[in-house]
């Protein structure tokens, strides 16, 4: 190797010190910024160090590798870039059809359980060298030049309208509308929610997608998320994607908050790929992303169902009828009752009973009259039901209802609803409920 000279041996000692004495995670980017060398040199240094140490077989070292290449997934070819653990490297490489690049990503003593620390390591290093973080980088884009202040001012007005549709659409492309209402079990949802909220800040997560996460989550920086959105648009129609790429790019440059250079550059690289390669490539790329979206969509559906089920449970509890054993009623019937539990507590027992297995039905035959206090009083008579098997004495309930109705005009509504309900007694409860309105 060409690197074997005295200068580089000093660097090897440096790396050794960082890894063994300070217990640091040494990523190639951190090394390149710390030592002031080009990233490719840093990668080679790490490889050399690892090799050296492995031959000596002294301390136990762990390494992660960056692999990127083309991969065929169910007939769709996509370009994947991942950070994988050493143990998974060969397996991952074998899955790829074409390997574009493999290099050491980091070296550390500890076995990393997740990828978070890798990001954290680079974060501070890049933040300290924010303006010059691409000095040693190998990613170049000739059209990526900083805008002059004139251009920047001209760009001030357009970006907000471009921003808003993206913000509203981005959560949906990521497969989750709001992460607030639901307990965020969908990890994609968490990221979508945060990406929408922290649009101006750089909530930049891991730049590369990683298969080492068992939950198949994807850490996507803001730039990539907007590029993803653009790919989605391309999938559906080849129209304005390229136009949108440019304002997104420029808007990112305008972004005030500190952002990592690499996601920006990655996005620009992707932008380049878009312009140079045919649209086919983008379609396939977005297809693999739609799969992810679809899976998170199905998670979203599960969440909806769970939410519905949760609402159902309090409804039987609000029932005043003690004899009715609140079973878990079928979803459709009870969903409709949930919006107005307070309005008609007494009518619920009727509804809930019809959906129970026993099919006991209490027909409330109500007599409405105005008493001396100008209150509308409803007295309910109790009648047996045609399809009821039991007719247990629930006469306590009518008396309770009476007491309740002697209070306010809202009872009028109740009585009306009960009368309408009587008409629909012989049918399933759903129709009865609908007819009320």
């Amino acid at each position: 190797m060409q690197l074997l000279n005295k200068m580089d041996e000093l660097y090897l000692d440096n790396i050794d010190e960082y890894v063994n004495d300070h217990d640091k995670i040494v990523t190639y980017k951190w090394l390149s910024l710390t030592l002031g060398v080009h990233v490719n040199t840093a990668k080679q240094m790490l490889y050399h160090y690892l090799d050296h140490k492995r031959k000596e077989s002294s301390a136990q070292l762990h390494a992660t590798y960056f692999v990127s290449g083309k991969c065929v997934d169910n007939g769709h070819t996509s370009h994947k870039a991942s950070v994988v653990r050493e143990e998974q490297l060969e397996e991952f490489k074998s899955k790829m059809s074409l390997i574009v690049s493999v290099h050491v990503y980091s070296v550390q003593k500890a076995l990393l359980r997740d990828s978070g620390p890798l990001y954290a390591v680079d974060y501070d290093a890049v933040k300290d060298n924010l303006l010059s973080c691409s000095k040693y980088s190998a990613i170049r884009c000739s059209s990526a030049v900083p805008m002059s202040s004139v251009e920047r001012n001209a760009q001030q007005a357009p970006p907000p309208p471009v921003l808003e549709p993206q913000q509203s659409k981005k959560p949906s492309t990521n497969g989750d509308t709001t992460s607030k209402a639901r307990p965020a079990k969908s990890i994609m949802g968490m990221f979508a929610g945060k990406a929408a909220v922290a649009k101006s800040q750089d909530g930049g997560k891991e730049v590369k997608s990683e298969p080492q996460e068992a939950a198949a989550e994807v850490d996507v920086p803001k730039g990539k998320a907007s590029a993803k959105f653009n790919h989605m648009m391309n999938f559906f129609g080849n129209q304005s994607m390229k136009k949108q790429e440019k304002p997104v790019k420029e808007e990112e440059e305008v972004a005030v908050e500190s952002s990592l250079a690499e996601p920006r550059q990655l996005e620009k690289v992707q932008g380049e790929k878009v312009t140079t390669e045919p649209p086919k490539y983008n379609k396939k790329d977005s297809r693999s992303k739609t799969k992810r979206l679809q899976s998170s969509d199905s998670e979203e559906d599960k969440m909806e169902k769970k939410k519905r089920r949760r609402i159902k449970k309090p409804v039987p509890d609000s029932s005043e009828d003690e004899d009715v054993i609140p079973d878990s009623p079928p979803p459709v019937a009870m969903r409709e009752t949930s919006p107005a539990p307070t309005m008609e507590p007494a009518s619920h027992p009727g509804l809930s009973e019809t959906t129970k297995i026993r099919k006991r039905r209490r027909v409330l035959k109500s007599r409405t009259f105005v008493d001396e206090e100008d209150c509308i009083v409803t007295e309910k008579g109790y009648e047996s039901e045609s399809y009821s098997e039991d007719e247990s004495a629930t006469k306590q309930a009518p008396t309770k209802n009476q007491a309740k109705t002697k209070t306010s005009a809202s009872n009028e509504k109740k009585s009306q609803k009960k009368t309408t309900e009587n008409k629909a007694t012989k049918q399933a409860s759903i129709m009865g409920f609908f007819q009320k309105k």
């Binding site: 217990d23 640091k24 995670i25 550390q108 003593k109 500890a110 076995l111 990393l112 359980r113 997740d114 990828s115 978070g116 620390p117 990001y119 954290a120 390591v121 974060y123 501070d124 307990p183 965020a184 079990k185 990890i187 968490m190 945060k194 750089d202 909530g203 997560k205 891991e206 989550e217 850490d219």
Partner: protein, 210 residues
């Protein structure tokens, strides 16, 4: 951002808030890294602009929050000398103790904007260090549990007993067994020195874990 002075805001409260937030993240991370609970219950969240692992289990989260809620008044008054996260094995013998030594300088200086982002950076370094601490620690036996201890003054303890900050969440004096470990090995992890707080994290590990 407003500059904080002792007169404007309760500076102690601000510091206590920052520290309690940090301790919450740190406890979750310790539980994740030391595999006290299965990693399936953890989820990536963002704190100090870096990804951290937090648990989704509601009861665990509630327990940790209640614990820190009770500790917060102690930190405000600078009564909490140490906050210790003890990991115990099946027989409730401690195997590891993560000790956060906290001290606040008596004269808190007026802070500026840069101070808080500097503190954020320091706390980030702490988080990173906890993430890689299993390089220096041996593996724990299976089926461990954890508890949180606070080293504080007698007067503060009396106050805590008198005023139950959270109902049905009593604090009791820790057993000798939980406080002291046999043959501990001391491993320093990180130190933080800033204008508002000085914190040190070290781990006491039992030599024979299994």
């Amino acid at each position: 951002m407003t500059t904080l002075t002792r007169q404007d805001l309760n500076f102690g409260q601000v510091v206590a808030d920052i520290l309690c937030e940090f301790l919450e993240v740190a406890i979750h991370l310790i539980l994740y890294v030391r595999e006290v609970y299965p990693s399936g219950i953890f989820q990536k969240r963002k704190k100090y602009n870096v990804p951290v692992q937090m648990s989704c289990h509601p009861e665990l989260n509630q327990y940790i929050q209640d614990t820190l809620h009770c500790i917060k008044p102690l930190i405000e008054k600078n009564d909490a000398e140490k906050v210790v996260v003890v990991i115990m094995d099946k027989e409730h013998h401690p195997v590891e103790r993560f000790v956060f030594e906290i001290s606040q300088p008596p004269l808190l200086s007026i802070s500026s904007d840069t101070l808080l982002s500097h503190v954020e950076q320091l706390l980030r370094a702490f988080i990173l260090k906890i993430s890689v601490c299993d390089a220096v620690l041996n593996n724990n036996p299976p089926e461990c549990s954890f508890t949180v201890l606070v080293h504080t003054r007698n007067s503060a303890m009396r106050n805590m007993e008198k005023v139950q900050v959270i109902k049905d969440f009593p604090w009791i004096v820790a057993d000798e067994q939980e406080v002291h470990m046999q043959e501990p090995r001391l491993i320093p992890l990180k130190t933080l020195t800033s204008d508002i707080v000085k914190m040190q994290l070290y781990v006491e590990e039992r030599a024979q874990k299994m």
